[in-house]
């Protein structure tokens, strides 16, 4: 029963196990499931083990029980890029309306989904007409997060969904925000950063080591010998360097700020520096990059075990990275190009990473990202990327 439903779930990439499927059968046999609604909840709770797949589950469910079309994987990719572009455009609805050849009033009647679909249809025509339409898409360096308030009709906020059929509920896709494509939130970041811990014995010997105590006492023929240990403390030092300048980082500043807030509560020793685009002779201790310069050469005096994390989009004009006087600030003219400075940082701190808020699919289109990638291990600033970055800098050697 429902075997094809099970295989469909498996096919779209939800990790479902045969055991759980058998368990669902058991629930069915026990007479616990009496309607499609019951089946929707029961099957989800038994088969799907993470809210990240709830959205996919909803889609499959709607497809299987209502014949709603499943979106294909290619469509996903293009729609993400399109969505980003679209959101940029929605800041100026008139322009968009002109471009799509519809009236602004009509535009405001469309939901963002419909609008996107309309836009995608146009886009398909476009690619068919000119080859090389893909290049055109690559130019969008805008953030897919936020800005949704610009749509003239306003974004639809999911209402309470009771007393509706399960298929309707599934079609509403309430869990889209939790799906894997969703943006990184504050608490997710905290979770990932928690793994950045390095426990070492520290402080006075004030913990009783019971096993040792018993062993030593026995060796002492029963005369009690109490053994003390130092307690474990987190002694990890972290330097965070944040690119907070320029319009190219603007869309990510909120994200980076939260990351920075989290980091502050997370570590014993955390230094935060700021820079613009890339690093030359100085890092700045103040976010305005004016009053408190920190000479880069001083870094060598710090503990090489320090974890050095750079957050930036690594996108700039190539000369800023490569030329000997690349800095857009006149004061910085040591004659060393920025890429040599970055190499210096990696050499000083073997545990360093670069976190990039730009999605990896776009990395190949920006020359400076490619170049910096050769110097720094680069990870995407998402939950996944953050976790990979953390495990990378926590490696022993």
């Amino acid at each position: 029963m429902f075997v094809d439903f099970f295989y469909l779930l498996k096919k779209v990439g939800i990790p479902v196990s045969p055991t759980s499927f058998l368990r669902l059968q058991k629930a069915l046999n026990m007479g616990l499931v009496n309607s499609v609604d019951d089946f929707y909840t029961a099957a989800r709770s038994i088969l799907v083990k993470s809210e990240r797949y709830f959205d996919l589950y909803d889609q499959v469910f709607a497809h299987r029980f209502q014949g709603v079309a499943l979106k294909e994987s290619e469509a996903v990719e293009i729609s993400e890029v399109a969505r980003a572009l679209l959101e940029e455009w929605l800041k100026n609805p008139r322009e968009l309306a002109d471009l799509l050849g519809i009236k602004e009033e009509d535009l405001s009647k469309l939901t963002p989904e419909e609008l996107l679909q309309y836009f995608l249809d146009r886009l398909k025509e476009q690619t068919e007409a000119h080859h090389g339409g893909g290049k055109w898409i690559g130019t969008g360096g805008t953030s897919p997060v936020g800005h949704s308030g610009y749509h003239p009709g306003g974004m639809r906020v999911g209402g309470i969904s009771r007393n509706k059929s399960a298929v309707k509920v599934a079609m509403e896709r309430r869990y889209r925000d939790y799906s894997q494509e969703g943006p990184l939130t504050e608490s997710q970041m905290g979770e990932a950063l928690k793994r950045l811990r390095n426990m070492v014995p520290h402080g006075p010997k004030d913990r009783v080591n019971i096993d040792e105590t018993i062993y030593e006492t026995m060796k002492n023929a029963g005369e009690i010998e109490i053994v003390f240990d130092q307690s474990l403390r987190d002694r990890l030092k972290v330097i965070l360097a944040i690119d907070n300048g320029g319009w190219s980082m603007d869309p990510y500043i909120g994200l980076v700020q939260t990351l920075f807030n989290y980091a502050r509560s997370q570590f014993k020793e955390l230094k935060t520096f700021f820079f613009h685009n890339t690093i030359y002779d100085h890092l700045w201790e103040d976010p305005h990059r004016r009053s408190k310069p920190f000479p880069l050469d001083e870094l060598i005096r710090l503990d090489p075990e320090t974890r050095f994390i750079i957050i930036g989009d690594a996108s700039m004009a190539p000369y800023e990275l490569l030329s000997t006087d690349g800095s857009i600030y006149v004061g910085e003219r040591s004659g060393k190009p920025s890429y040599m400075r970055l190499e210096f940082i990696v050499k000083t701190f073997p545990h360093s990473v670069w976190l990039n808020p730009v999605p990896p699919v776009e990395w190949a289109y920006t020359r400076t990202i490619l170049h910096i990638q050769e110097i720094f291990p680069m990870f995407e600033l998402t939950l996944d990327g953050l976790e990979k970055a953390v495990s990378h800098i926590m490696r022993k050697n």
Binding site: T41, S45, K49, F54, Y178, E191, T258, N261, S265
Partner: protein
């Protein structure tokens, strides 16, 4: 007795507003005798659910609060070596030093297994412990038994407890662990649901106050760059504070003033950000 409990279904507690979907999941999990893993952001009532189940089914609730340094064995049983060492040295207690069993104390899971009656076992915030803890717990929950190595004795669950596991973590627990649980993610309550929750806590609440408080609350939750967003618990406490203040007028909320912001935001950077944003409400 046992049968009677199985036939009883869970329909909500006196202080808990139950979502229909969640009720189904709880009842299926009880019937299948599967642990139910609940995820969701803080303040969505994960822990409260276990309390409500215990209350509704009239079962004893045993809470295991997981701590980061916890080993599974702490949750199962403790072998009190220090007392035994002390007794053997001074010999002034009534315990029989040669009988190790007298120095074994049951942990929370052990108590649940040993109980003569069916219990509700809440394993709270399992993500706090490291993955070893979860992996070790698998077999125990699967087999419903564990061994006490010191006295070579197996403790088997007399009655399979109703197990509720909660997790705040956004990252997934290990696959084998998930495979042995039913899963539900509790989304943050919609305003309508929230009104019902508030009504359960304050049965005599003024309509106008509830309306403006809930509206302001959801507006506050929209503020960006907040580390710990206010949750249900904060809202309840906040309303309690508003009601106990004789100078408070509902109109102030409508005007965009938010008194007692400190109840909603407990971290100083958050408080500062929120205060700033609230300033803009008025403008």
């Amino acid at each position: 007795m046992n049968k009677a409990i199985q036939n009883r279904t869970f329909t909500g507690g006196s202080k808990y507003v139950l979502d229909e979907e969640l009720a189904k999941i709880v009842n299926i999990s009880i019937a299948l005798e599967m642990p139910l893993l609940l995820k969701g952001e803080p303040g969505t009532g994960k822990t409260m659910l276990a309390h409500a189940i215990a209350e509704a089914l009239q079962l004893r609730l045993i809470v295991l609060n997981v701590k980061s340094s916890m080993k599974l064995i702490d949750a199962l049983y403790q072998y009190d070596t220090l007392t035994r060492l002390n007794d053997s040295r001074f010999g002034d207690s009534k315990r029989d030093v040669s009988n190790i069993e007298e120095y074994i104390r049951m942990g929370k899971i052990g108590q649940g297994f040993n109980s003569e009656e069916k219990v509700v076992l809440l394993i709270d915030e399992i993500d706090k412990a490291d993955t070893d803890f979860q992996d070790d717990m698998l077999d125990v929950l699967d087999q419903m038994e564990f061994d006490i190595i010191e006295i070579d004795k197996t403790i088997r669950a007399k009655n399979r407890p109703v197990i509720i596991i909660t997790s705040n973590a956004k990252k997934d627990l290990s696959d084998p662990f998930l495979g042995r649980c039913n899963f539900h993610h509790i989304a943050f309550p919609e305003p309508d649901m929230m009104r019902r929750i508030v009504a359960v806590h304050f049965s005599d609440i003024d309509k106008e106050l509830m309306e403006s408080a809930v509206r302001t609350f959801y507006r506050l939750r929209e503020i960006k760059s907040i580390e710990k967003k206010p949750a249900t618990r904060e809202l309840i406490n906040w309303i309690r504070a508003l009601r106990s203040d004789p100078d408070f007028r509902v109109k102030d909320l409508v005007k965009g003033e938010v008194p007692y912001l400190g109840i909603l935001y407990k971290k100083s950077p958050d408080y500062a950000v929120a205060q700033n944003a609230v300033g803009r409400f008025r403008a």
